[in-house]
Symmetry: none
Subunit: 400 residues, 2 copies
């Protein structure tokens, strides 16, 4: 595993194209049938691709570590996820269409209902409509407290994002959200001395919001959590000399991709539109990150059969990708989400890397168990980008 | 491989139980028959367990490095053996029943015979009886030199341990034992400027011992070697949130386990009592380290057939363990001790990790060669603890 600073010395711009398909939570586990989701699914196109690819497994972070999607994606994109920790507030906010600056601190917000004794009656304010959310955010947006400007950005239903923009903000601030109904409102408390003035600003904002929302029942208050400062990631353009694009449905993944320097392709809302977008934009970029969410959602729901179906659905769409003849194709997951576990897990993730010069192995079926004997072996996910770049002829020789 | 400081953020206490069986020096090499010790042995119970486990190989330290039992065990327990170097004196002394403090420096001692010209005639003083050793240690125990208190603890026959307890002791002191008969007594020489006052204290002790033992022929002198300061390891309780127990026959392994925070189960003297102790204490702890010594001793003796027999003997006892239904079972070695090498070696060590959610592979026989195709691949031994903890549901997700 090399550092990006080292890689950067070796990367060159070329015309070759890389497509990375990330099926979220792809890795699975055997159910009572003795087979994993990938072993159960019928995926002739992925198998055909595996036959001419080099296959293996990745450890997203390190042996035994179960990652969230944030750090798992960072690894796949070649970043050290222990060096760049992205807080939940930032991760969620990244997906909204907002021009972040290095001075920004984000938090996740809920509109909620409180009674006249400041007790939280409904943490979601009866799941107000997104339209109502937009109206309320207009009232909070643009406030300024002690030189810190505040942006309130609607997300969906009762959920919104808050961005604090000011000098010297420190994100060591605990949630103002007690996460439970029947409890009283909480102040945002600094978890570190250095964050005391930041916490003061946050609390002044919360208190102003209370005044502003007083008569807006049921959304008469806000709860904030996951305070996190902006993270400045090295950009794909700079480190890898790539012109990268992101094709994703879910906001968080778009936001993460933006942080890496990817351009986010608009109006993507289904698996089909994702693959169409790839075709339509194929000439414009040389790196495509195509994110498939429902492998993870079905795994999280413990729905083995649905996860199998999603895999089969993606398989059917694969010819739309392979017909484009990208120089390098990567198919993998960011982490495992076995249906039998109903959540993310530590299990290594199957991967195939196709190129005309990949030195294919003897793996004939794309699944966790066949991939054990693949030519890649088990690699840290952070090695995927350098291997892909080399297969694409985008990495120079190191030394003479 | 992640650091323990990182792991500590993710570990949680649960009711699940982990049993780690360490067959010392388990890894072997092919003899003239073309098979290794594990391939030769008949071990149906281990094979049955391997079938439902994830298998692989571990590198105790790093590719090509032959470890001693100390660093090899530290790796398996999740510690960085290059960060925590445990000197031989300490390692040997750890096994004696002694309450160490951070100020202690240990050394290994031999009673020996010298002539009237200070020439060593017998390095082992004719292997005096342990009873005699106990008597002599009483004479040396409790001395105080320049504020440093000295404890003399009998081990066996002519062997004893010395613990120096004082402020600012520095263990960069060379052996006073020339390791050869016919040579003169040596002073303990500091190998570093910082250890000069420590060496002075050691030499004053040696000289006092000479006076005290003058008339105790054949044990009329002592030789000291392996000076080593106390090492403060993070404890299993703190890092892993485990309540760990050690089941071992040999003192050194008990001592090492104690350093990691394990409680040492008493009165263990055979393989059978080890497995019985596991059963008797199963409800009291959530982590068990069960150490099997004779795989190593037979390997060290170059006795291929005996090593095969020891493996078969352990295999017969395995049902006593599996019937307890621990959530996670690990069977591995700390390092390889191939009989054809008659010593520790650098060869990776076979491992199986069983849990209901381990994502078993296609390995059907537990040996060095079949494990090559296991789902774990070849992993650093330091990854074993995180993988086991995740399989036991004791590791939280990293990031969102």
């Amino acid at each position: 595993m090399v550092e990006q600073e080292f890689l950067k010395r070796l990367t060159v711009k070329t015309d070759s194209k890389i497509v990375m398909v990330v099926m979220d939570g792809l890795g699975g586990c055997q159910n009572d049938s003795g087979k994993t989701e990938l072993e159960t699914a019928n995926h002739p196109n992925l198998d055909a691709l595996a036959k001419k690819s080099i296959c293996g497994l990745t450890d997203p972070i390190s042996g035994g570590i179960t990652p969230g999607s944030g750090p798992a994606h960072l690894s796949l994109f070649g970043y050290d996820p222990l060096k760049y920790e992205i807080g939940r507030g930032l991760l969620d906010t990244l997906g909204v269409d907002f021009e972040f600056t290095a001075d920004d601190m984000a938090a996740r917000g809920n509109y909620c209902t409180i009674d006249n004794k400041d007790v939280i009656i409904d943490r979601r304010a009866g799941r107000i409509s997104t339209e109502r959310n937009i109206e309320l955010c207009t009232k909070l947006n643009g406030l300024e407290i002690d030189g810190t400007k505040i942006f309130a950005i609607p997300v969906k239903e009762h959920r919104f994002s808050v961005i604090f923009r000011g000098k010297n903000l420190v994100d060591k601030v605990l949630d103002s959200d007690p996460q439970k109904e029947g409890l009283k409102l909480m102040d945002a408390v600094p978890s570190d001395q250095a964050a005391s003035s930041t916490a003061r600003i946050v609390n002044k904002f919360i208190s102003k919001a209370k005044d502003i929302l007083r008569d807006e029942h049921p959304a008469n208050m806000i709860l904030l959590r996951g305070f996190s400062k902006m993270v400045n990631l090295p950009k794909f353009q700079d480190v890898y000399k790539l012109t990268p694009a992101c094709i994703a449905v879910y906001p968080m993944y778009k936001g993460l991709a933006r942080l890496c320097g990817m351009e986010v392709i608009k109006s993507i809302d289904t698996l089909e539109t994702e693959f169409s977008a790839l075709r339509e934009n194929f000439s414009k970029y040389d790196f495509f990150y195509l994110h498939v969410k429902p492998t993870d959602s079905s795994g999280e729901d413990g729905d083995f059969a649905r996860k199998v179906k999603v895999i089969e659905q993606v398989d059917k769409l694969m010819p739309l990708l392979t017909e484009l003849n990208p120089d390098v194709i990567i198919v993998t997951g960011d982490h495992s989400t076995p249906a039998v576990i109903s959540g993310h897990s530590w299990h290594p993730v199957p991967i195939l890397i196709y190129s005309a010069k990949c030195r294919f192995d003897r793996v004939e079926r794309f699944n966790e168990i066949d991939c054990i004997n693949g030519g890649l072996g088990k690699i840290p996910a952070r090695d995927v980008m350098p291997i892909a770049l080399s297969n694409a002829g985008k990495l120079l020789k190191f030394g003479a």
